[in-house]
């Protein structure tokens, strides 16, 4: 059987889509810079090296089996009939893109977007595992993420899977909607980051014996803020390409998508700056950058359907949510997440997904034409997607990373962490002319 029908697609949309997809690697570069800047200086080179390797592994893993599992709407899929309704669980494709003609067709563009999106999702856990995640382990974890976890959920949302068909089969709005990957990329990557942070444990010296956390500030806030700028460009492309490919919006709607993306990120950054200013008397640059990324992650959900003013509201809420979430994870949950990846991507992404059910004015005309009341069940479809992320994706990604950890320990030994990831794993530091870190020369 085949999965749900594909969205309509014009030639102009195809050209614009290619341009937008080519911008997405800038988002990857931005996230890599943010992860590096928020980590320690003695792990900076290893962080950038890991980012490069993770992107490479993600692309190859996605080519090998990722797109075969993800598929595209209207293509053959494994379907289970439940109560007379089809539930598409997994695409029925061939490995190595054998069944895909790479000719600019929607299917081939979906494969290209999926390749870079899987890389972007795989970069997110690097921020949470900063300063202690072995290079080899992060590559293995990425292969599993890009080859299994990401494509599985992406099929359900973008490949005509059961979540996308909740509207057609069960009357829940238009089914689970996620234009730019708030769930498929951001939440999946963020929840994987949470699993990795749990498995690795906190950095040495992060928590005292009584559980009090100590601040380990990022080593280069300029990298962090520059990465935020780069990420914006990439996100505009990502959201536009996703909306055109998977929601069938017209090419001209890309202007609305980009506007909403910018507004959402800006509002989130301002909210984070205001919140930190009111709490600490000065705005915190790294939390503001986290807020900015949280706003971008949230924008991916409703970017094609929200009004600009609604995007501002979504962004403001994301900025406040991310700021408090960073503190909550560090103080209450004892999760050491140097890059703020869990808060920015998982919390921002989940909020972005839910915001589609609350906002999304552009749904009204379509639904009213079809004789349905506006927002009929859309919020419930979004909640089902969130429940799937927390109730299925988190245990799955935790279990897979736990298995990897049993076979190949993911955390560096104490000596490696004390020495710094650069010297221990690469044999040379990122800043060889600097001689710092008194604890490198003292006994642990």
């Amino acid at each position: 059987m085949t999965s749900g029908p594909a969205a309509t697609f014009s030639e102009a949309s195809g050209v614009l889509c290619v341009v937008c997809i080519l911008l997405v690697p800038l988002a990857c570069a931005g996230i890599a810079l943010i992860n590096t800047g928020l980590g320690r200086s003695r792990s900076a080179a290893q962080s950038m090296m890991s980012s490069l390797c993770v992107l490479s592994v993600a692309a190859i893993a996605y080519l090998t089996c990722g797109f075969a599992f993800q598929g595209f709407a209207g293509q053959p899929a494994h379907v289970v009939m439940i109560g007379g309704k089809p539930w598409s669980w997994l695409a029925h494709g061939s490995p190595f893109l054998h069944h895909v003609a790479v000719d600019g067709s929607p299917q081939s563009l979906a494969a290209l977007l999926g390749m870079v999106s899987a890389g972007l999702a795989a970069l997110i856990p690097l921020g949470a595992g900063s300063d202690r995640w072995r290079l080899g382990a992060s590559c293995i974890s990425t292969a599993v993420l890009a080859g299994c976890t990401y494509p599985l959920f992406a099929h359900w949302v973008w490949g005509g899977g059961w979540l996308a068909q909740l509207g057609a089969n069960y009357g829940l709005g238009r089914g689970f909607v996620d234009s730019g990957g708030a769930s498929t990329i951001q939440a999946v990557g963020g929840l994987t980051a949470l699993a990795v942070a749990w498995i690795l444990g906190p950095r040495r010296g992060k928590y005292a014996q009584d559980g009090t956390p100590s601040a380990i500030p990022g080593h280069n806030v300029v990298l962090v803020l520059f990465g935020s700028f780069l990420a914006l460009v990439g996100w505009c492309g990502l959201n536009s390409a996703g909306a055109i490919l998977f929601n069938g919006v017209a090419a001209g709607t890309a202007a609305l998508v980009a506007m909403n993306t910018i507004l959402c990120a800006g509002a989130a950054a301002l909210a984070a700056a205001l919140v930190t200013n009111s709490r600490f008397r000065k705005p915190d640059a790294s939390l503001t950058a986290n807020g900015w990324i949280g706003g971008l992650a949230a924008s991916s959900g409703a970017c094609a359907f929200a009004l600009p003013v609604e995007a501002v509201v979504i962004g403001l809420a994301a900025g406040v949510l991310v700021t408090f979430s960073v503190e909550w994870f560090e103080l209450r949950m004892s999760v050491d997440d140097p890059g703020g990846s869990i808060s920015a991507h998982a919390m921002g992404g989940l909020w972005g997904v839910f915001s589609v059910g609350i906002f999304g004015e552009a749904f009204h005309p379509t639904l009213e034409k079809a004789g349905e009341p506006a927002h009929s069940g859309q919020w419930l479809a979004q909640l089902v997607g969130i429940a799937t992320l927390v109730g299925f994706v988190l245990p799955l990604t935790y279990g897979l990373n736990w298995l990897i950890n049993r076979v190949y320990p993911q955390r560096v030994p104490v000596e490696g962490e004390r020495q710094g990831m650069d010297l221990y794993e690469l044999g040379a530091g990122a800043y060889p002319e600097f001689l710092t870190h008194s604890d490198e020369f003292t006994e642990p």
């Binding site: 909740l166 444990g201 429940a387 927390v390 109730g391």
Partner: protein, 59 residues
């Protein structure tokens, strides 16, 4: 406790899926979806509590 937490996460998801598949009326379906999410939250709390800081282990 960690395994129990993850089992509760999966159980909550199963409740949500069952509600979507079997219930046709909107109010009970929404109620059961919310109940499933509630079970997931309990599971998440258990998983969180099962991950104390590994003090000293990496000191």
């Amino acid at each position: 406790m960690k395994i129990l937490g993850f089992l509760l996460l999966l159980s909550g998801w199963a409740i949500v899926l069952t509600a979507v598949a079997l219930l046709t009326q909107a109010p009970p379906r929404a109620a059961f979806v919310l109940a499933g999410i509630g079970v997931e939250i309990v599971g998440l709390v258990l998983v969180i509590r099962a991950h104390p800081i590994r003090r000293g282990e990496h000191e």
